[in-house]
Amino acid sequence: MTKPETVRSNPPTVKKRISDPLSVQIFLIGLTFLFFIGFIFLPLGLVFSQAFQKGWSFYYESISEPYAIEAVKLTLLTVAIVVPINAVFGVAAAWAITKFNFKGKTALKSLLDLPFAVSPVIAGLIFVLLVGSRTPLGTWLGEQGIKIIFSTPGIVIATIFVTFPFIARELIPLMEAQGRDEEEAALTLGAKGWQIFGKITLPNIRWGLLYGMILCGARSIGEFGAVSVVSGHIRGQTNTIPLHVEILYSEYNFTASFAVASLLVFLALLTVVLKKGMEKHFQKNSFHL
């Protein structure tokens, strides 16, 4: 329950003695700025300067042409499906891991990180091998009129796989810190399972959950590797924003490519702002932890 203020309130004399010499400070700060400029500001600036190279009207045309619009729609649709599903998965997994004792719990916990460790391309290939048109399962699904690879379901499934850990990983430490006491208290007071979840557990984890959902959403928007393998790059049908950027780029249509890419940058900036806002809220409410 220590508030950050108490940590910062060292007497100034102590601060002076333990701090590094000025030259070291200037060097480190300078290095950090150089890195930021070289790897973040400069590339971002280039994206926008390229995007607007042929003027506003071309920029507007590039992002409003039918294929681009379709790509944006597909991306948003994917996010709209993936985030809620992963929210349910994530809460369920975090709940199971932190509130129950069962065999294979440790294994499950480490397996959660698998999607982070596996290259997204492999993740995509796994699903092609599993439900592609030449596999038994894929053939059977095809006979039922269900197409997964080279269509929207494939994109959604691949994205779910890649972004699965974000929410669970956000929630597990939070729920571990909170323990089972409150749930047990609610239980002895006569609450049913869903009442405990709705009235106690969910309110306790809501900010962590929202934070995880934002990260999950951001990753879903930008996911390229896995989606690239399963989508088939059919313009207007299975093209997400990142895939559309790549197609335009490989057609030497640089300006249009960067224009669409700038949409991704905007979405990323929006995520950062949202995340920052959430962190502030987190801190303000940390006394509840």
Binding site: E182, E184, A185, A186, T188, L189, H288
Partner: protein
Amino acid sequence: MGIELQNITKTFGEYKAIDNLSLNIASGDLIALLGPSGCGKTTLLRIIAGLEMADSGKIILENKDTTNLPPRKKNVGFVFQHYALFRRLTVFENVAFGLKVLPLRERPSRSEIRDKVEHLLKLVQMDWALKRYPSQLSGGQRQRVALARALAVNPRVLLLDEPFSALDAKVRQELRRWLRKLHDEIHVTSIFVTHDQEEALELADKIVVINKGRIEQQGTPQEVYDHPANAFVYNFLGNVNVFHGRIHNGKVSLGNHHVDAPDDLKNIEEKPSQTFVRPHEIGISRIRSNDNDLAGTIREVRLLGGQIGLNLECEGLDGPIEAEIPRELFINLQLEKGVQVFVTINRVRVFTGDYEI
């Protein structure tokens, strides 16, 4: 009968937490489960509440067999060591929780809930804090809210799991007395778990001493303290000096020194024995009052509030012994480190069991 436990057994893997334990508690009593940490007392409490399942045995609360009821139907009030208040809910909402989750048919009306919560919070002297959140309260205040919350559902029995152990000494003592007073008003059958013998002696109608998942002794605080059933109970209920020796022809050996054995052990021919003496039952004087007194030297002087603790090296004893004397006596005798004194051992307890401490 308030609480009847019949042959409760619980194992965690290889470890036997509760070992065929049976216990009867009269309705309206306040009982202390006293034992060292890891003795199974908290597990027993959680089994009664249904938070753990016993491997075998029967639990009857106020004449109703609750062994196989899910915890939410057992209707017990449980107070947790670390309060476990709902952090996102206000004090009012916390106490009202148990009433608001009742099925619609049994649920009291809004105004009834309001009246009941306000009444309970008044009872625990927290009615000023209705709209506060748990994080805005001190530990003692939180525990009182937790108690009101547990009482709101009219529990058959009230279970308190080391309710004061997370509080500082001063608040702990206050809350202890307050709980005793509250229990005298509401008379709900209650069990509290503690490892603090002082707390158990002061608060409980009856003490149940538990060790290694079994009951060592049960009785009123007076009985348990004055007539401990075995070496473990004696040792656990307060500070002790232990002498390992032999009992022989009605005499017990303390080092080279011999004292009369208690009557019930007079007839034993010869057996290894353990002799216990409480520090406050050791007399200290400047002059030898009888032949049985031991000559000793003060090695250390410690201030223990109203008492003075002395560490003494005695002639003929293997190790140093601890004594506690009133401060006044200490001043009158003009004692200090290094002074020669005579030690009278007034009351010994002798156990012949092979119990190891």
